[in-house]
């Protein structure tokens, strides 16, 4: 079986701003037609990487290929880009603005696509209103349409869900997945680990400019093994300190997440748990993406690095 062609390939990409190395020797291969999620703490180099793929920043070293072509000097007409810091011309009318954005990439014949998207994201009646009269959620949706209206083959979205309410988040998520089904490759960055888990074929984590995770969710979780117990506890709250073989407890309120020391028998933990509190749910699981993120970038890891 042939491996699918790569939509984006980075090799040895490094970018520094003055003394600060924002991205350090980064390699990445995004298969065409996949959804690739970028995660990582603020300031770890996500946006810089996306901007380099967009040819807005040039890497100091390394090569970036999009659809097999070196990006230097090429214009990104096959790529739709929604930056994290985004805005729209406030005085323009929605439909005129979207046509402008579409034509800027595609050239012509964007009218039908603009109207189709306005219809789909329930903005049709706002088409002739000025952008400044839209609510925040509506202008986010307009921003999304502006990005996809040219039917890009690669979609790069920097924090597409930030600031959206659940209804609009669902609408945008469905739209992204539909585009994926039509063959569009999607790269997006997010701070919402649940979204990344549910939506992404591949997850890529960058921390302090370096790649720390890259692969499918199950492959990443597989590296950590089934070392997590999720338990739902009834009744009054009791501190669970000192359980045998438990390295760390993440208190999620009703649900407690217990991380086991390597080689610990979960049955022993269950027994001592039941002795202390009524347990209504007990599950042996792989660590969540959230937990993995915190293990890499949280204060505990920072402590470990200092030692």
């Amino acid at each position: 079986m042939h491996a699918p062609p790569k939509a984006v390939e980075l090799e040895g990409v490094t970018k520094a701003f003055g003394e600060h190395v924002a991205v350090d020797d980064l390699a990445l291969a995004v298969p065409a037609g996949s959804v690739y999620g970028f995660i990582g703490p603020n300031g770890s180099g996500k946006t810089t990487t996306l901007r380099m793929i967009m040819n807005i920043f040039y890497p100091d070293r390394g090569s970036i290929r999009v659809f097999g072509e070196e990006r230097r000097g090429a214009s990104g007409d096959r790529i739709g880009y929604m930056p994290e810091e985004r805005g729209l011309y406030k005085k323009m009318r929605v439909r005129t603005l979207l046509r402008f954005c579409g034509r800027l990439k595609k050239g012509r014949h964007v009218e039908a696509e603009v109207d189709r998207w306005l219809e789909r994201l329930e903005l049709a009646e706002w088409a002739d209103k000025r952008v400044q009269s839209l609510s925040k959620g509506m202008s986010q949706k307009v921003q999304f349409i502006a990005t996809v209206v040219s039917r890009p083959e690669l979609l790069i979205l920097d924090e597409p869900f930030s600031g959206l309410d659940p209804v609009n988040t669902d609408a945008i998520r469905r739209a992204i997945l539909d585009l994926r089904d039509q063959g569009t490759t999607v790269i997006f960055s997010t701070h919402d680990m649940a979204t990344a888990e549910r939506m992404c074929d591949f997850i890529f984590m960058i921390f302090r400019g370096r790649k720390v995770l890259d692969g499918t969710l199950s492959a990443i979780q597989g590296e950590y093994g089934e070392d997590t117990i999720r338990a739902r506890i009834d009744g009054e709250r009791i501190r669970l300190d000192g359980l045998p073989g438990v390295e760390r407890i993440n208190d999620h309120g009703r649900v407690q997440e217990l991380r086991l020391r390597p080689g610990t028998d979960p049955q022993i933990v269950l027994r001592s748990l039941v002795e202390r509190v009524p347990v209504t749910h007990f599950e042996l699981a792989k660590p969540s993406l959230h937990d993995i993120f915190v293990r890499i970038a949280g204060p505990e890891a920072a402590e470990a690095r200092r030692v």
């Binding site: 901007r51 985004r86 805005g87």
Partner: protein, 437 residues
Amino acid sequence: MSKVLRVALRDYAEAVRSKAFLISIVLAPVFMCGGIIAMTLLEGQEDVSDKRVAIIDRTGLIASSLIERAESRNAEATHDLATGKKRHPAYVFEIVPPPEGGGDVRVELSRRVEEKELAGFLEIGPRVVHPVGADEADGMRYYSEGAAFDELRPWIAGQVNERIHSLRLQDAGLDEAAVRSCFAGVPMAEAGLVTIDAETGEIVAKPAIDEAAAFGVPFIALMLLFMMVMTGAVPLIQSTLEEKMQRISEVLLGSVRPFELMMGKLIGSFGVSLTVAFVYLAGGLGFGWYAGGLEHVPLDLLPWFFVHMVAAIFMYGALCSAVGAACNDAKEAQSLTMPIMVPIVLPMMIVIPVIKEPLSSFATGMSLVPFFTPFLMLLRQSTPAGIPAWQPWVGLAGMLAATLFAVWAGGRIFRVGLLMQGKAPRLTDLARWAIRG
């Protein structure tokens, strides 16, 4: 259609629909013409009530003659001959005898001036006809509340002096008429050069240069270009800054390269100023045709006007958009606008010496400095004397080089600045971005 053109069209459409544009295109001429109209209106609004002046004539020889002259003037010059309407005030004099025994009437007269009964009062010293030394009594004084520019004072001074001259001539036993004819002035008229008409062989006058052509035309051409730059190039600071502040820039950079974006904005701006130029030139030429005086307009300079306009918009515009891209807010932009405005405003400050002597080495040298060329070369070219034919071309070469440099450097600053957040840029930062890219 290229991306540059699409950006240009969008910017143009937004600019010409803005209120600021409509105001500038409609109101600027209104303000300019308004000044002229106001002056014309005010001219007819002169205070025509009689002006009374008291005279203390210590010679006893002058006051009565002054009254006679005032009466003949009042009969002739105060009314419009055609309409019979009173246009100027009559001058009325009253003689106040010098107080005997050394008393001072000036206090009483001053009070009457304060009560607006008198416009002022004149004191003529006893020895004005044959002064000895610089004694106060040798001169004359006009006492009034203010030192206004009225026509009354110079009229009185002229009349009194004429009377004194007559008295002196009489005392010297000379024939006044003969002496006056000796000193009659000869007026000097302005004339142009002459040339031999190729067909008839006759000597004909080249068209005379008058003041309208020598000062008016260059000045209007300069102001027009200045206005083009102010409507076309300078607003790029604001519009680029707004795109950056509203986070539109990076969205656009997903579709166009930074240089394409800047060029698009420049071309859009050029379109705006071309529109303004068209409206003003059409209006101005139309007015010239209607009101006469079109012969003063050097139509052969129009192509040069546009050449200088293109260069000015692109040269200053590139720098303005670079400044807009580099700044994070209006306050930062304001402090960086100053250095950009220097090459635009400096030529305005040296207009007068350049118009007076367009061929001086100062004027020539300044007009060949590329960043001043658009304004100063155009100014010199439109003076009637003309300048050596090679100079505009040398100026053009320097100006094109400077324009290309400004667009290149501006483009690099634009690219780096657009995504730079936080730190307020200094001129040295801009220079570094231009060099490193």
